[in-house]
């Protein structure tokens, strides 16, 4: 079997568990993002794959070989570190050659590969400089070059963009996207920035609380979050969660009653949701808008207005205290403190039970 396979990987630091029986399959040439809040174990998982940490139990397989028993250098894995970890006393050329020399690659082969990588990454001019003489972006490229040149079977990137300023981050994101086309390897990137994950990854692995919460394409994790955590975590601004109870069902779809009394008819199949169950109703901002004059809706008070130019997010509070976020196209005129009426696109609402389990709307016919 090819690709990366994690089987029941567990790890704890003393009494504190970090990962509990994590299993995952990554296809060859797939780009995976590990997304999660800090402390979710995503970095630890990456480091276990790299061999920088040892799992307490579980197995790591790569291209049909078990690698968790091997030393980091013998796994066929390359990694780009958050702070690049370039060897400060070596030139760029020496930095890139170091791993190959350790692996006993022939001298002219090393020269050839360095030239090639330098060419691709446009750092041929910099080969005899030391890292200290270079800018952050250039160092990033050298770090990537050092990884590419090893022709690894798996590419690990630890928060690759966190050290760059906003402008550079955009450009580097493009470069990372190109990188995957150039390497014949799977890529795994750790990030806490969902935009990065959404943009770059084929699939996103969302981690929290020592476990994988969901594995899916960006569209899946956005549209059909596996649970309340994923729903809250993915999307910016996040999904609003309104406390509610199941009011009943209508044509097999549940109706929910919000805390302040309004009943919404959702498109969520009733299934085992029975009347009276305490749930949360999840609403993406794009499914909440300002009601037209005279249109019925929820009364709310605007607390914060986030104008992004093409669109505006209104952070508002319903009677009873629940927080909700609405999207208004354009620049808008609403100001904080205004009382507004919000219209809700109820068929797009998600329902989450107290255990966090998600119930998604059936797509409209």
């Amino acid at each position: 079997m090819s690709g990366l396979e994690l089987i029941d990987v567990s790890k704890s630091y003393g009494a504190t568990p970090v990962l509990e029986r994590v299993s995952l399959s990554v296809l060859p040439r797939e780009f995976i993002a590990f997304l999660g809040p800090s402390g979710s174990g995503k970095s630890t998982l990456l480091r276990i794959i790299a061999g920088l940490e040892t799992a307490d139990s579980g197995e790591v397989w790569l291209d049909g070989e078990r690698i968790d028993t091997r030393s980091p250098g013998a796994r066929g894995i390359a990694m780009v570190f958050q702070h690049y970890a370039l060897y400060p006393h070596m030139t760029v050329r020496e930095n890139m050659a170091f791993g190959l020399r350790n692996a006993g690659v022939a001298r002219d082969e090393i020269t050839r590969r360095i030239a090639q990588a330098a060419d691709i990454l446009e750092i041929a001019e910099q080969l005899d400089k030391k890292p200290g003489q270079m800018s952050g972006g250039q160092r990033q490229r050298v770090a990537i070059g050092r990884a590419i040149i090893k022709q690894p079977r798996l590419f690990l990137l630890d928060e690759p963009l966190s050290n760059l300023d906003a402008a550079l981050r955009g450009r580097t994101r493009v470069e990372l996207a190109q990188l995957r086309t150039r390497v014949d390897a799977a890529l795994i990137m750790v990030t806490h920035d969902q935009a990065e994950a959404m943009t770059l990854a084929d699939r996103i692995v969302i981690l929290d609380d020592c476990c994988i919460q969901q594995v899916g394409t960006p569209a899946e994790v956005y549209a059909r979050p596996a649970n309340a955590f994923v729903a809250r975590f993915v999307g910016s601004p996040p999904m609003a969660m309104l406390p509610a109870t199941i009011a009943g069902e209508e044509a097999g779809r549940v109706c929910v009653r919000l805390a302040e009394g309004t009943v919404l008819a959702t498109a969520v199949p009733a299934g085992e949701l029975v009347a009276g169950t305490e749930v949360e109703v999840g609403l993406r901002p794009e499914h909440v808008r300002l009601a037209a004059p005279g249109e019925a809706g929820l009364a709310a008070q605007v607390e914060l207005v986030e104008r992004l130019g093409d669109r505006t997010f209104l952070y508002a509070k319903l009677e009873g205290g629940a927080e909700i976020i609405a999207l208004e196209p354009g620049f808008g005129t609403v100001r904080p403190g205004d009382a507004v009426t919000l219209a809700i696109d109820a068929p797009c609402a998600h329902v989450f039970t107290a255990s966090g389990a998600a119930h998604h709307p059936e797509p409209r016919a």
Binding site: P72, P88, G99, N102
Partner: protein, 274 residues
């Protein structure tokens, strides 16, 4: 504060202080260029000519001074290399590797900082006698290698190096030793320079141990050799020669000091004062 102009009174005081620091050295230098006979009659003769190089010629010609100089160089260099090697290895081990009793061992090493030479020198003399180590270069060098300070200093320095570098090197397939030797050690050069210079100075200037461990003149270090020459009973002659020996013996160490002055100050600012 920094860069503020110095008050003229402060400048005067500084110059006066510098004069006090330098006067003995200038006096020594002048004496060393006078013939012994002239000084025997009147040491005040040092302030006027004629000056001569005869004392220096005598050193190069007949005395053991060159041998002592060589011994001091060997002992101080051996101590320096030894301390650097041992402290670097141990510093890396304590800073980066996990092994049972690591913390306990480190604490035991740190306790060594509090042990004065006096507490061990007499039993050490007995021990070395049993081992037949006296009057040998290893016997003179070994006590310098027990300094806890070097290990402490290098451990701190290694700890300050980002761990990512180790990990990058491990992923680059480096062994623990390659990692240490090719990646981390070169980064500790400033610390090595500081530690090296201070070890060299300390070993060069050590007096107590070589006094009791070196048993023949040709193994004396400069400190002991010169002391054996100057403490002689009722010696009223040879002042110029003694001073020439003093100057001659100080030259190598001054060279070392001047060569490394920048590193000493800079690296001390970095790590030593934490």
């Amino acid at each position: 504060m920094k860069g503020a102009r110095l008050h003229p009174l402060v400048v005067m005081a500084l110059l006066l202080g510098a004069g006090v620091m330098l006067a003995p050295m200038v006096w020594t230098l002048l004496l060393s260029f006078k013939s012994n006979a002239a000084l025997m009659a009147d040491s005040g003769a040092a302030f006027s000519g004629p000056y001569t190089l005869e004392n220096y010629a005598a050193i190069l010609k007949g005395s053991l001074t060159l041998q002592w100089l060589a011994n001091s160089l060997i002992v101080a260099t051996g101590a320096t290399v030894g301390v650097l090697v041992l402290s670097s290895l141990a510093g890396y081990g304590f800073a980066r590797l996990e092994f049972p009793f690591r913390r306990t061992l480190f604490v035991i090493v740190l306790l060594g900082l509090a042990v004065p030479e006096q507490a061990v020198i007499l039993p050490r003399h007995q021990l070395f006698a049993m081992l037949g180590l006296h009057n040998s270069y290893p016997g003179l060098i070994l006590p310098s290698l027990t300094g806890s300070f070097g290990v402490f200093f290098m451990t701190q320095y290694f700890r300050a190096i980002p761990k990512e570098l180790d990990e990058a090197a491990l992923l680059d397939g480096a062994s623990r030793f390659t990692l240490f030797w090719k990646v981390l050690l070169p980064l500790t050069f400033p610390a090595q320079a500081t530690l090296g210079v201070f070890t060299f100075l300390a070993a060069w200037n050590d007096y107590w141990w070589p006094l009791i461990s070196a048993t023949t003149s040709d193994r004396f270090t400069l400190t002991v050799g010169l002391a054996s020459a100057q403490m002689n009973y009722a010696q009223t002659s040879g002042l110029g020669f003694l001073m020439a020996q003093a100057v001659f013996a100080s030259i190598p160490i001054l060279v070392v000091y001047i060569a490394f002055q920048k590193q000493i100050v800079r690296a001390m600012a970095g790590t030593a004062v934490r």
